[in-house]
């Protein structure tokens, strides 16, 4: 590949309890490579102390989420060409609304604990998680195939959510979408978890989550659907039918 662009990367740095700052790296890159490739180049050739999370490099694992020029991106599938120009600048920051571990690495522990609590299913039949807007509907015989879930638990939606910024108690879009995927279906503990002030009623319908989601989850739509499920459960309970 030809490295015919020069791009300046402003990279957030923070070690231990020290205050954060930005370091500047001028790097020759191929514009068709991805932002994560550039970060890996910086680590390989410029600064071995840089820490960043990554694993699959093809958008199935969800590890490499960052803020790129202020917008949440899965960096392994974000072409450099799509976020800057030759001679331009790219600002890289860790995701918001999570504690910083080091440099670009954040602690996603709270999100994973909550995903576990709402029972988000990591694998499920295609019938249980059809595409939101399918190009063509799946064949009946394919509905039985087992698929890895759409949500890759990257945390981008929680970073982008302005409501999550106001309180760490808010479950956040990924978790509420996880509850919707699991389905309420008379599950009282799950209902109690989401039907509360830090659950799905905290959402202000900003839809940032859906705009940054790299993986077809559309969390905002799922939160709206979960509200419907909760209202249905309340009405059934009112009439003593739950």
């Amino acid at each position: 590949m030809i490295n015919d662009w020069t791009v300046t990367f402003l990279v957030y740095r923070q070690k231990g309890q020290e205050p954060g700052h930005f370091d500047t790296f001028k790097v020759e890159v191929n514009p068709d490579e991805y932002v994560l490739d550039a970060v890996e180049r910086i680590w390989s050739f410029h600064d071995r102390s840089l820490t960043f999370a990554h694993a699959c490099h093809h958008s199935t694992c969800g590890a490499c989420g960052m803020r790129v020029n202020g917008v949440e991106k899965l960096t392994c599938i974000t072409p450099i060409r799509s976020v800057t120009t030759n001679g331009g600048t790219v600002k890289l920051e860790p995701m918001r609304n999570f504690p910083v571990v080091s440099d670009l690495v954040v602690d996603l522990g709270v999100m994973f604990r909550r995903m576990e609590a709402v029972g988000h299913r990591p694998v499920l039949p295609l019938a249980d998680e059809p595409a939101p807007t399918p190009a063509k509907p799946p064949r009946p015989e394919d509905l039985e195939t087992i698929r890895l879930a759409d949500c890759i638990e990257c945390g981008l939606c929680i970073s982008a959510c302005p409501v999550a910024t106001t309180t760490p108690a808010y479950l956040g879009p990924a978790v509420l979408a996880g509850a919707q995927q699991h389905g309420l279906d008379g599950n009282r503990p799950l209902l109690a978890l989401v039907d509360c002030k830090d659950g799905l009623w905290r959402c202000h319908s900003v839809f940032e989550c859906s705009s940054v989601c790299p993986s077809n989850v559309d969390p905002a739509r799922r939160i709206m659907d979960l509200r419907k499920q909760v209202l249905r459960a309340r009405i059934l309970r009112f009439f003593g039918r739950d």
Partner: protein, 389 residues
């Protein structure tokens, strides 16, 4: 009696699986990893849960390892696997000729296959090349690479193993006679340097194994061999689609979630920490992929990346090297005690690799403890983050 302390260098597939095995056998385990979990070759696998079919003709040892471990992983870690099977499809007369050896090889390795006519095949997978001549079903699957590693790591953690991530081994602690008694490390999270002693050090750094053994003056015949993967924004098959031919460039399409991966190639590099994509190989993947599933031509590219296989063998290269794994006791090969290297192998065989390594560690330390990983279901991969450090 205090527990023996094992340091495992590397939190890729072999590292996390060895941590799990040794923790179950009662060891005090510390995993030292320079980045996050599975950031090297392991994370970047295309995610084929091998049935062994790919190796059944020329490399039966690997094929048998694959089918055995495939069945075990389906049982112990179903949460990370799409168990939808695979197909080997023939497109040319030479593919058909290879099919004869393929049937024989699969029978010899106990890999269950079933022959399908073109009509039956296209009914299962309508997006396949309509000119296909013959197909075999095979118990392939797809796994999520990071989540597979995390499930082993989480279970190890729940049994007491500690993980020091973003911590790079800078050198070996030696006893004055050249034997390894621990590691010197650099914690890149906090920018601090330190030392850690151990009764045994396991080098599970895969393609990087040679760099680590060199720190102890030991050698390992490792041949790092990258390959390219092209990812498309569309899923055109339910099953893994293999070309019925000897292992070659672009011989597989792996569907996963709502995308698919076409792989791969085989070349050589000097710097393992940053492996660039070779432009001409992208077109080769489009071409070879479209031979199997013509819709690949119209599908949008979602990502392109490389992964470096840790092949064992000096002198020979690429495709001709067997894909089996090997465990090295450096006392025997280099007269350096306290250090064991595990490398080679496939993602699918991670558990077996760990069992062999832990067996070697136990025999070196004179400990009699059996592996119990075959029958131990792993806990949720999310627990790796949920459990406290």
């Amino acid at each position: 009696m205090t527990k023996p302390h094992a340091i495992i260098i590397g939190a890729g597939f072999t590292g996390v699986a060895t941590a799990h095995d040794l923790a179950l056998r009662g060891f005090d385990v510390t995993v030292v990893e320079r980045g996050p979990i599975a950031n090297g070759t392991s994370g970047r696998t295309h995610g084929l849960l091998h049935s062994g079919g790919r190796y059944a003709v020329k490399d039966k040892e690997s094929a048998i390892e694959c089918i055995d471990e495939n069945m075990i992983l389906r049982k112990i870690v179903p949460d990370v696997i799409e168990p939808n099977g695979g197909l080997f499809i023939a497109l040319t007369d030479s593919d058909l000729a290879y099919g004869e050896d393929f049937i024989e090889g699969c029978q010899a390795c106990n890999i269950p296959i079933e022959e399908l006519t073109p009509q039956q095949t296209l009914k299962l997978e309508p997006n396949l090349n309509p000119n296909l001549l013959l197909a075999f079903t095979i118990p392939d699957g797809t796994f999520d690479p990071l989540r597979l590693a995390l499930a082993f790591a989480a279970t190890a953690k729940s049994n007491g193993a500690r993980f020091r991530l973003y911590t790079e081994v800078e050198g070996m602690m030696l006893d004055g006679q050249g034997n390894v008694i621990g590691v010197n490390f650099w914690d890149r999270k906090n920018n601090q340097h330190g030392k850690l002693r151990a009764d045994i050090v396991v080098n599970a750094t895969g393609a990087w194994a040679g760099e680590l053994t060199a720190m102890a003056g030991a050698k390992v015949p490792i041949n790092p061999t990258p390959g390219i993967m092209v990812v498309y924004d569309q899923r055109l098959t339910q099953r893994a689609i293999n070309r019925l031919c000897p292992p070659s460039d672009g011989d597989i399409i792996l569907p996963q979630r709502r995308m698919m991966v076409v792989g791969t190639t085989s070349y050589e590099v000097d710097n393992l920490d940053y492996v660039p994509v070779l432009e001409d190989q992208i077109e080769l993947m489009h071409e070879r992929g479209a031979e199997l599933v013509p819709g690949v031509r119209q599908a949008k590219v979602r990502g392109i990346y490389t992964a470096t296989r840790p092949l064992i063998g000096a002198g020979t290269t690429g495709r001709s090297i067997a894909r089996t794994f090997k465990c090295f006791d450096h006392k025997e090969s280099d007269n350096v005690d306290g250090l064991v290297t595990i490398t080679g192998g496939k993602a699918t065989t991670l558990r077996a690799m760990a069992e062999k390594t832990a067996d070697m560690v136990c025999s070196k330390l004179g400990i009699s403890a059996e592996s119990n990983t075959k029958d131990t279901p792993l806990i949720s991969y999310r627990q790796f983050y949920a459990l406290p450090d």
